[in-house]
Symmetry: C2
Amino acid sequence: MKPGTLHIAGLGPGHESWITPEVTAALAQATDLVGYAPYLARLAPYPGQRLHASDNRVELDRARHALELAAQGHRVVVVSGGDPGIFAMAAAVFEAIETGNAEWRGLDITVCPGISAMQAAAARLGAPLGHDFCAISLSANLKPFPLVIKRLKAAAAADFVIALYNPASKARPDDIHEAFAALRAVKAGNTAVIFARAIGRPDEAVHITTLADADPARADMSTLVLIGSSETRLIARPGLAPFVYTPRGAGGL
Amino acid sequence: MKPGTLHIAGLGPGHESWITPEVTAALAQATDLVGYAPYLARLAPYPGQRLHASDNRVELDRARHALELAAQGHRVVVVSGGDPGIFAMAAAVFEAIETGNAEWRGLDITVCPGISAMQAAAARLGAPLGHDFCAISLSANLKPFPLVIKRLKAAAAADFVIALYNPASKARPDDIHEAFAALRAVKAGNTAVIFARAIGRPDEAVHITTLADADPARADMSTLVLIGSSETRLIARPGLAPFVYTPRGAGGL
């Protein structure tokens, strides 16, 4: 049997112009596309390709299914939003490999990076990630929420820019409010805060505010929240939205 | 005069298959390409395009030159490595705008994100950025080195994965050793450490080791250093390099 392949491919935040040629090529040669249904729905499959759509929150099952298909000799692409390596499908696939069938370790596996939500948001705003930053997932599905709060406080105290992924949870609607309370206990009220929603999609929206004025409830499942460092600033523009950027230099401690 | 445009475009780490269609389109319509000489040398310019190559460490001058050209009506692309918003040219351009000619604020400016070095390195390894992480530039050209150390210690104490950009400096060769000493004071000796050099280029190389065994002098100007969290682990593969990944879940505090 001809050995199969597995690509774990990032579609980016939603716009076709942000999909790399590597990902496009991987999709073109695939026999099987595996992914969360809304990501598969973005694609125009080639004739004969089999689509394996799954629900959210079943990443590990999805990963195992993709690995089984590859082990059977198929050319499989696991379709991920954003960058598969950043709060997306790649870690689930490697977790499945570590805990699964030993032969999966010998498969031909390629991770194809993509544009992650924080990069898309930063590009729309200016250069808010222009200096040291952290990326933190607020999701407490897989880690204790106190660890999220500990990391937020550490990032705030060390004056990192913070990109907050998965800020909204229907199951835990209070978490984002607790997160903002933790940030407000450390950072100045005039710190820049941005809610970047669905960047790269038709309904994209950006809301620029301050930590003091921010309403955490504004964050939904499609929102990436950026919290500036003490150096992050706005450049006013007559008749246009301001630019937001973080200078390359930093003075204070 | 027809108004000019300015695109700040990320070429990614080096391989053409990681350049987004947005960047390719921006390059195709440009009259003027501005950038650090080695990045411009990667391109095949279209007939009639003017190339404005500059040296390293003159980012602000380069940014001002690009803005002047755009203000004169040219279609300018500032060419950046990686993602221009992550330790690259975008912040320099917005710094130039903030401190420069007021009319620059009205220019038509687009940041085109790209694949950053940490994403390329992560893709080659598996999924080391699969959980909360920080990106820190070790360069002390523009910030006090004690701030770098403070951020490293905070990131280590809160158990982030750490992506270390610009780890080597000819002017300050001791900095990387001080950085590793700070990490070793906080993190376990068996923490995974990866030196990822020139990923996506013909001379790409990956070295996987531990914090105890790592030789900081291995990092050169083309190296991205990844330092794992306490959860980052290796998946052994017979006859192949191990996968490196950080699970989506985390237990400890």
